[in-house]
């Protein structure tokens, strides 16, 4: 028997999975997986700063929206830092990503210990942003995830020809008059949105897997982009449902990790299927 609580978590994870699957399809093809990972990690100091600000201001430091806005700002800052570092030409992008990911995350961890030393339990729940805790999802969080999924699906479908042109051959697309900078920014914005939205449920360590696993699995099962796109969104949703059910049936299994493991199972299965 599925309780109301479980149903909320299942639906929320499914919506999150669909959003990540749809956006992840293009994130993978554009080679943005590592950048997404960096943005997820870079969000932590922003989340901590928002909690500190909330405690100082006297508002509820555990209210989710301010924490996520703080995370989004820090994530965007991390993205900007990666691009600024690569643009100097002194280090390559992979090294820039590693530097930003580690330094922002370290800053966040130090910030966490500062918050922990404070009274009033301001730190309660903050550490869940690292590994995620979907089990505490409330009905309004699930609704928000549903809206996110609708928004991500609508954006990727509306931008489909542009995103395809960008991912396959950006120079050629630019020559045809496509605004590469704006299209790329739109894609990065969607990736950031999914990363931040996934933080409370899946955690910053695993959120990149939501983007990459369904897309990589869908790529192996499809030779054309429309099929890959639909399969990626569907696999994301199915992984969310099965992962949430699995963790509900085994008290103590973190939901985010269960979702990622289901996604990994699909990935491995399609890998074998393709080799056979």
């Amino acid at each position: 028997m599925i309780t109301h609580n479980t149903l909320v978590v299942v639906l929320g994870c499914a919506a999150l999975g669909v959003a990540a699957g749809a956006v992840g399809c293009f994130a993978l093809l554009r080679g943005r997986a590592l950048l997404a990972d960096a943005m997820g990690h870079a969000a932590l100091p922003g989340v901590v700063a928002a909690a500190l600000l909330g405690a100082w201001w006297g508002t509820d430091p555990r209210a989710l929206p301010p924490l996520l806005i703080g995370g989004a700002i820090a994530g965007a800052l991390g993205l900007w830092a990666v691009q600024a570092l690569s643009a100097t030409g002194r280090i390559r992008q992979d090294a820039a990503i590693a530097v930003v990911l580690a330094s922002f995350y370290a800053l966040g961890v130090v910030g966490l210990s500062v918050v922990q030393a404070m009274p009033a339990g301001a730190q309660a729940g903050l550490s869940h942003f690292i590994l995620g805790q979907a089990a505490t999802m409330r009905a309004e969080d699930a609704w928000a995830a549903g809206l996110l999924a609708l928004f991500c699906l609508a954006s990727t479908v509306a931008l489909f020809p542009r995103l395809r042109a960008l991912c396959f051959d950006a120079e050629f697309a630019a020559l045809q008059g496509l605004n590469i900078r704006r299209t790329d920014a739109a894609l990065m914005g969607l990736i950031l949105l999914v990363c931040i939205a996934g933080l409370p449920a899946v955690g910053l360590v695993l959120v990149v897997a939501l983007l990459v696993l369904p897309a990589a699995t869908a790529r192996m099962l499809n030779q054309r982009l429309p099929g890959m796109f639909m399969a990626s969104a569907a696999l994301g949703g199915i992984s969310g449902v099965l992962g949430a059910l699995l963790s509900a049936g085994h008290a103590g299994w973190p939901t985010g990790a269960a979702v990622v493991l289901v996604g990994t199972a699909f990935f491995v299965a399609s890998l074998m299927l393709r080799r056979a």
Binding site: A158, C167, F168, D169, A173, Q176, R224
Partner: protein, 236 residues
């Protein structure tokens, strides 16, 4: 009106000048850009197309790049794209028609037929549905050429259309180039095989960071000019 007219174009890579004070009018017909490695041949095409920053003036058909966009086709180097992308040969060619697609990306039938016709023109009609990752190098180059054709441009800029292709593909591509010229299009191609220049092209630009010579192949493609362009080592 020259299909492409370049005036005092300069390109820098950091502090190093890659192209210095290029002044060049492209004549209608088939033109080869030749020169040693690092001479700036690809750089010249990319700078003219606004894909890399440059100074100077570039005019297409007497107007700006933005105004002439629909009349310009481009064939990049084959290595410049991800051949593992989930697309069929027809999908890739159809991307040339993207400005004419509907919002969700489904091609109107007329556009799809135009893409199919372009594939047929390079002898690839039978492989239209094949994933691009499963095509040979020569077949991939033909798909690229078909995409360039599907743009229905009046001026086609090609970056090494004959690089690393088999003999059959080379003959096929040359045939297509010559057909383009007889139907009033202009083609500018970066070219590596000096021996075949007089057979394929009417005009040549000999480049080595600057314009060494430009004009009719019969006039500029001389042993002395080749030596000047490439240095003494290659005067065979």
């Amino acid at each position: 009106m020259a299909p492409l007219s370049i005036n005092h174009l300069n390109v820098f890579y950091g502090e190093t000048p890659a192209l210095a004070d290029i002044c060049w009018d492209v004549a209608p017909g088939l033109t080869a850009i030749i020169g040693p490695n690092g001479a700036g041949k690809s750089t010249l095409l990319k700078a003219a197309l606004g894909l890399i920053p440059s100074t100077g003036e570039v005019r297409f058909f007497g107007t700006t790049l933005d105004a002439a966009r629909a009349r310009i086709g481009y064939l990049p180097q084959r290595a410049s794209v991800d051949w593992d992308f989930p697309a069929s040969a027809l999908d890739v060619v159809a991307m040339a028609r993207t400005p004419r697609t509907r919002w969700w990306g489904a091609l109107p039938r007329r556009e799809r037929e135009a893409a199919r016709a372009a594939l047929a023109e390079v002898g690839m009609a039978a492989l239209a549905e094949r994933p691009i990752g499963q095509l040979s190098g020569g077949q991939q180059q033909r798909v690229f050429l078909a995409r360039c054709l599907a743009q229905e441009a009046d001026l086609l800029l090609m970056d090494e259309p004959l690089a690393a292709v088999d003999a059959a593909t080379e003959r096929e591509i040359i045939k297509v180039l010559q057909k383009l010229a007889t139907t009033g299009r202009s083609v500018v191609a970066v070219h590596h095989d000096l021996a075949s220049v007089p057979d394929i092209f009417e005009h040549a630009l000999m480049l080595n960071g600057r314009v060494v010579a430009a004009g009719r192949v019969a006039d500029v493609f001389t042993p002395a000019m080749i030596t000047t362009t490439y240095g003494a080592g290659l005067a065979a």
